[in-house]
């Protein structure tokens, strides 16, 4: 069993983030607040409740170096929280959106953050020292529908987005004064809001876009139970689309350039690996279930299929007792968020946490072969 720890925090968790030293976790329990819990030995204590938003907080990110929390909400606002003593002090960021904000992520250098919204636009926010506030620049073109996820390239300039119009796009977010000119990028890419690439691989909603640690591979999940891997997006894109056996994924995480973890409606993290030639394939489910895979669908699903086929389907005895969805795994409901947990000094990632609609935060640890 690869799940190292399971914590039940609430009825349902929208999203979560960890503090730089991984002693505190911030999450939204499906309302307009952000709760921060700290681990004291074996017990979790609620330390702070941040309640500035009016509607559900759908995105939280905690910057590792500058220790700032950024939250975005359906109320079209964003706050950057800094810890002063024992209090968290919010700074309102005026995003200039007329629809809900859906996701947020700090850039690798933590001088910018990107917000995806239902207004078919992305906000790139940076700190202006003279006026002591965060400025938001919008990328309004190109998207035909809500932006579900954003992902920063390690170079701090390229941003990949997935949208409910099924496409994955890569933009340049170069801001004069904030980003320095890198010698590798060609000057034509540097214009803010310029679309570098558009990927039309999915006909259905796209979620969970991520760059690999080296920035050479892009991956995202389609709502039609497919996962797409694209190599070398900038110059010569080559794509691989893998159809999944079961339900769609909602979020992804690269553990290395060769290993990806996908989480979604199966309530069980899936590992994908690339072989030496760069060919990706599904390797295994992370969670070992108590029941055998073919009968682990749960009584609800077997019953439904039984009614469909007009026969009294043989329901396995261990399922008949509970109508609930417990299938013996760590998560009982859809996993919506996956966050990396870097160990100091390690270059490869082998720990991460997932949170889902069942209100649990589960920490997983793996041995990654080099």
């Amino acid at each position: 069993m690869a799940a190292v720890a399971v914590h039940q925090f609430a009825e349902c968790i929208t999203c979560h983030a960890w503090s730089p030293d991984q002693s505190m976790v911030a999450f939204c329990p499906n309302n307009s607040e952000v709760h921060i819990y700290k681990l004291f030995g074996e017990k979790w204590e609620k330390m702070h409740v941040l309640s500035k938003h009016d509607q559900i907080v759908c995105g939280i990110d905690w910057s590792l170096k500058s220790n700032k929390l950024v939250t975005v909400s359906h109320d079209r606002n964003s706050y950057v929280w800094s810890q002063e003593g024992t209090e968290w002090v919010p700074t309102l960021v005026i995003l200039r959106l007329n629809r809900a904000a859906l996701c947020v992520q700090w850039s690798p250098k933590e001088n910018k953050f990107a917000v995806g919204s239902g207004a078919k636009s992305i906000c790139i926010c940076y700190y202006e020292q003279e006026n002591n506030w965060w400025v938001s620049k919008l990328i309004r073109k190109r998207h035909e529908s809500s932006v579900t996820n954003v992902a920063w390239h390690p170079d701090n300039i390229l941003l990949a987005t997935t949208s409910t119009d099924g496409k994955c796009r890569v933009f340049s977010t170069y801001i004069k004064g904030v980003d320095s000119k890198e010698s590798e990028s060609s000057s034509s890419d540097l214009k803010f809001g310029e679309q570098i690439a558009q990927l039309d691989l999915s006909v259905t909603w796209a979620f969970g876009v991520r760059w690999s640690p080296s920035g050479s591979i892009l991956a995202y999940a389609g709502h039609n139970s497919m996962i797409h891997f694209i190599d070398d997006v900038k110059s010569n894109p080559s794509a691989q689309s893998i159809p999944l056996r079961d339900l769609p994924l909602r979020d992804l995480l690269f553990l290395s350039d060769r290993v990806v973890v996908g989480v979604g409606f199966d309530c069980n993290p899936m590992i994908f690996t690339a072989d030496d030639t760069g060919l990706w394939s599904f390797t295994k489910f992370l969670d070992q279930r108590k029941a055998a895979p073919s009968s682990s669908r749960g009584s609800q699903l077997s019953e439904a299929f039984g009614k469909l086929y007009g026969t009294s389907k043989q329901v396995p005895s261990n399922d008949t007792v509970e109508p609930s969805k417990t299938r013996g795994g760590a998560h009982e409901n859809c996993i919506t968020c996956i966050v990396p947990l870097w160990k100091r000094g390690n270059t490869t990632l082998c720990r991460f946490s997932t949170s889902g609609l069942d209100g649990k935060v589960v920490i997983w640890e793996l041995d990654i072969p080099k």
């Binding site: 006909v203 259905t204 139970s225 497919m226 999944l244 056996r245 079961d246 299929f305």
Partner: protein, 136 residues
């Protein structure tokens, strides 16, 4: 101007598609006479023009697939010898069959649906339901 050209090009393609389907139909009749229902189904599913929006082509292909589907007696055997690349297309045709409401068609489609889901998983159903571009 461009739209018109596209339309004319599509027209020619439609004729080519209809001819191909007629070709397939004859091949399937031969295979069925030789008691090879699985090969007949594979032939029916092969080369289905999913991207076309023309209803006649889709109906023509459906008739051919329907003929092959109804001739299957050994569902388990058929599923195990079918290439995985055909799972998604077959699932789409099964849903079309279930939508007809015709009792014998629905019974057969339901029988195959059960086995195909066991083999291919829920992802197959999801792909057939969510794909609005490649329809049957």
């Amino acid at each position: 101007m461009e739209a018109e050209e596209e339309y004319l090009e599509a027209e020619e393609n439609l004729e080519a598609i209809i001819t191909r389907i007629e070709h397939k139909s004859r091949k399937i009749e031969t295979l069925l006479k030789q008691s090879k229902p699985v090969d007949a189904l594979k032939t029916a599913l092969e080369g289905s023009a999913l991207k076309t929006r023309d209803e006649r082509c889709k109906s023509a292909n459906w008739i051919v697939v329907h003929r092959a589907v109804m001739a299957i007696k050994d569902v388990d055997g058929m599923i195990s010898s079918l290439d995985p690349e055909y799972y998604d297309i077959l699932m789409k045709y099964l849903y079309r069959g279930l939508a007809t409401g015709d009792r014998p068609t629905c019974d057969q489609c339901l029988r195959i649906h059960e086995k195909l889901t066991e083999k291919a998983g829920l992802g197959c159903i999801l792909r057939s339901l969510s794909d609005t571009v490649n329809t049957v």
